[in-house]
């Protein structure tokens, strides 16, 4: 059997006085898929970074194939046949698939014999259960294909132990199924062992043989998947079973009302000048959350940017509260349009400015923060910042700190504090909880529902189906820049949504509103 077994004994790691990982002993059997479960900050990444040598462990030992090994750099790990597939892509977009694969091999002759390399790659691809045209530029691959390329790269390098960091976060349910099924088949054949970081129970129960759960850097439990169930696993993960958020009262009447946001036949070009949004029409009523599902890279970013005024539209019309909307600052303030864009540090904040200044970006030019139209009242800005920081629980609670030094969850909470004022009319939200811990996720979801219940029209673009099914009143699916499906969460089926997201199912009906 080529597959490697791996065991950690008493693994631990501290950052300063913070103990990120302590006394974790875990065994991955050769030729199995082992799931590593835990919420954000539980120490999963710290553990696997220790195993692949990116952040060597302080304590404990690692046994590979039963023999103790020291791993202090990625080179050591690679030498032992251990590789990792990261959540973000590590292939160069400007190079072709073949060039990326050949480069990854490390030692190359000074002259690369492309004829011979191509023949070798073709022979390799023949053995693989899935294929990518090696001549294509990586930048032209869809997210799912890039993920496959990352896995192919590891197999091309003859890795016998592969660590996957949330491998399915950018894939459709079908693609996820395919990739994970493939990994399982390879392990069954004895070619490979897999350690997979995940937070999706369904992936654990369907594809993993064993599961280990971490919480706050400690090992909570490790078991064969067959001997456990979701209730036990979620108890292990969260400490106690997660309580259902109280269903909030909402005041909504669907009588004839002007849509808060109405988009008709919108076309937007991407950075390369080709159309990324190809005639999208949708409308969001006040007191409604409309979710847009889709795999990343199908026009969501361009759509959001066009709605927020970050990108020019090529054609089409946007109306807010019934009036044409060009996303100028005056219109945003008059129509009360707010947004929670993805990557808030890049799209909604100025990293070098203080938290207080960032909290004032929407209205520093209006009374009471601004006197006689030009003089900024810094005291008022700081006072209000203190109040918002307390109400939205931003940590550390120092209004003068540059916002770029805050953690992701706190940046998102600060942006939330600025954008979710009392009188939001239209809210455009994009992947609001990406990479945040459970507490922040709960808070942000609750605030979104509250805003809806107060009558805001909310457009929610997300790559997380669970989030959309939980929050939305209606769900639209975007594929290749077009809306091709509409449904309500109560009737939605994951597999059906997935097929539309992947574009294997075409326009079932004319979706206009």
């Amino acid at each position: 059997m080529r597959a490697l077994s791996l065991e950690t004994i008493g693994a631990g790691k501290s950052f300063g006085s913070f103990r990120a990982l302590g006394d974790v002993s875990m065994k991955v059997r050769a030729g199995t898929v082992h799931a590593l479960l835990g919420e954000n900050g539980a120490g999963k990444s710290t553990l696997v970074k220790g195993i692949v040598g990116y952040g060597p462990l302080d304590e404990g030992s690692i046994l590979i194939g039963g023999r103790e090994q020291t791993i202090v750099s990625p080179r050591d790990a690679h030498g032992l046949g251990i590789g990792m597939v990261y959540q973000h892509f590590t292939v160069a977009p400007g190079l072709s698939v073949a060039e990326n694969l050949v480069l990854s091999r490390g030692e190359l002759p000074w002259r690369i014999d492309w004829k011979q390399e191509r023949a070798r790659l073709a022979e390799f691809m023949q053995r693989m259960p899935f294929n990518i045209d090696v001549e294509r530029a990586v930048s032209s691959l869809a997210a799912g294909e890039k993920q496959k390329l990352e896995i192919l790269k590891q197999l091309y390098l003859d890795r016998r132990f592969i660590i996957l960091d949330e491998p399915t976060s950018v894939l459709t349910p079908q693609e996820a199924e395919e990739v994970l099924g493939l990994m399982r088949d390879l392990t069954r054949a004895g070619d490979l062992s897999v350690l997979m970081i995940t937070h999706k129970f369904s992936e654990v129960t369907r594809f993993a043989d064993d599961v280990t759960v971490l919480r706050r850097g400690q090992l909570v439990g490790s078991k064969a998947v067959a001997d456990t169930d979701e209730t036990e696993l979620s108890t292990w993960m969260m400490g106690e079973s997660r309580t259902q958020a109280a269903v909030l009262e909402r005041t909504r009447n669907d009588a004839e009302r002007v849509p808060g946001l109405e988009v008709s036949n919108l076309q937007v070009a991407n950075d390369r000048g080709t159309l990324a949004v190809k005639g999208v029409s949708l409308s969001v009523l006040p007191g409604e959350i409309v979710g847009i599902a889709g795999i990343s890279g199908n026009g969501q970013r361009e759509l959001t940017e066009a709605l927020l005024g970050q990108r020019r539209r090529s054609a089409g019309e946007i109306r807010v509260n019934g009036r044409p909307y060009q996303a100028t600052r005056t219109e945003m303030q008059r129509e009360r349009v707010y947004s929670l864009p993805e990557e808030p540090l890049r799209n909604a904040c100025i990293a070098g400015m203080s938290v207080a200044e960032n909290l004032a970006l929407r209205d520093y030019d209006q009374a009471p923060l601004c006197r006689s139209g030009w003089l900024i009242n810094r005291r008022a800005i700081r006072l209000r910042a203190r109040d918002l920081i307390e109400r939205f629980n931003v940590r550390p609670n120092d209004p003068d700190r540059p916002i770029g030094t805050l953690s992701g969850g706190n940046v998102q909470r600060a942006v939330l504090a600025r954008e979710l004022t009392e009188d939001v009319a239209v809210l455009i939200v994009s992947n609001p909880v990406f990479g945040l811990d459970f507490a922040s996720v709960e808070l942000i979801h609750r605030r979104l529902l509250e805003a809806r219940n107060r009558g805001a029209a909310v457009l929610l673009l997300s790559e997380d189906l669970d989030e959309l099914l939980e929050l939305s009143d209606r769900i639209l699916v975007i594929h290749d820049g077009e809306i091709n499906h509409q449904t309500v969460p109560a009737e939605a089926e994951r597999q059906v949504l997935g097929r539309y997201m992947a574009g294997t199912e075409q326009n079932d009906q004319q979706v206009a509103s």
């Binding site: 990625p74 080179r75 590590t90 292939v91 160069a92 977009p93 400007g94 190079l95 060039e99 050949v102 480069l103 990854s104 490390g106 190359l108 002759p109 000074w110 002259r111 690369i112 014999d113 492309w114 070009a269 950075d271 390369r272 000048g273 990108r311 020019r312």
Partner: protein, 306 residues
Amino acid sequence: MADLDLATFFLALLAGAIRVGTPFIFVSLGECLTEKSGRINLGLEGILVSGAMAGYAVAYLTGSAWIGVLAAGGAGLMLGLLHGAICSLPRVNDIAVGIALMVLGTGLAFFLGKSFIQPQAPSLVAIHLGGWSDDERVRSALSINVLFFIGVALAFVLSWGLRSTRWGLMLRLVGDHAESARALGYRPVLVRIAATAAGGFLAGIGGAYLSLYYPGSWNEGLSSGQGIMAVALVIFARWQPLRCLWAALLFGAAGAIGPALQSVGISSGYYLFSAAPYALTLAVMFITCRPNQTLSGAPGELSLTR
């Protein structure tokens, strides 16, 4: 005879494109190499002028034009190395360093080159390919400097090398995605310093062509912005060496419009036509750079596109 005139005009234009375009070939290939590594060197103008001065001075002192060319390359290499090293310090912006280097390079060259303005250094010799013709114009148009052929060969070698050698792939990887280069154990900083130094070497040789062949003397008004236009040229060429070659010839041709018209007896607007390369630069920038679009083919790590 309108036919003859047209032939004369195009012959003069072709000869001019080669004569004026040769330094563009070297400077743009050098800049292409540097930018492929993910850095932009705006100091090429300074390197070009330094190369011109160093080449002229050494050729005068040693009596050999070819040693002068090597010295020019050496001077360019040192300045490129300086740029590469400074930019490798944390939080240093390559564009700002480039502008400083432009001023430093020209300033140093003017200061050190004062005493070489008068004397006559040996020139690079041209190869006469027009011996078969008894037409004087054809013969003068076909006397081409060896550096041109070296430049053309270099463009093909670079184009092949970036695809099919270990160093070429490494350079492109570093310029496209430094993080994965690091993950593969390469050291982007060293690669970039080397690429900037090599780019400086080529730009220095471009300078030597100016002072040792055409126009063929050292003075402070020698360069007319070729170093800066090369940056635009590389963008126009979409970071591909072979296209750099064609673009350099195109820019050379634009610079030769005035003299070519003069050769057929049209001398009005001579100075207006000498502005053609600059107008072409502006037009290229206007056509290729648009808001809401990144440049296709640009190395991913370039500060220009990030």
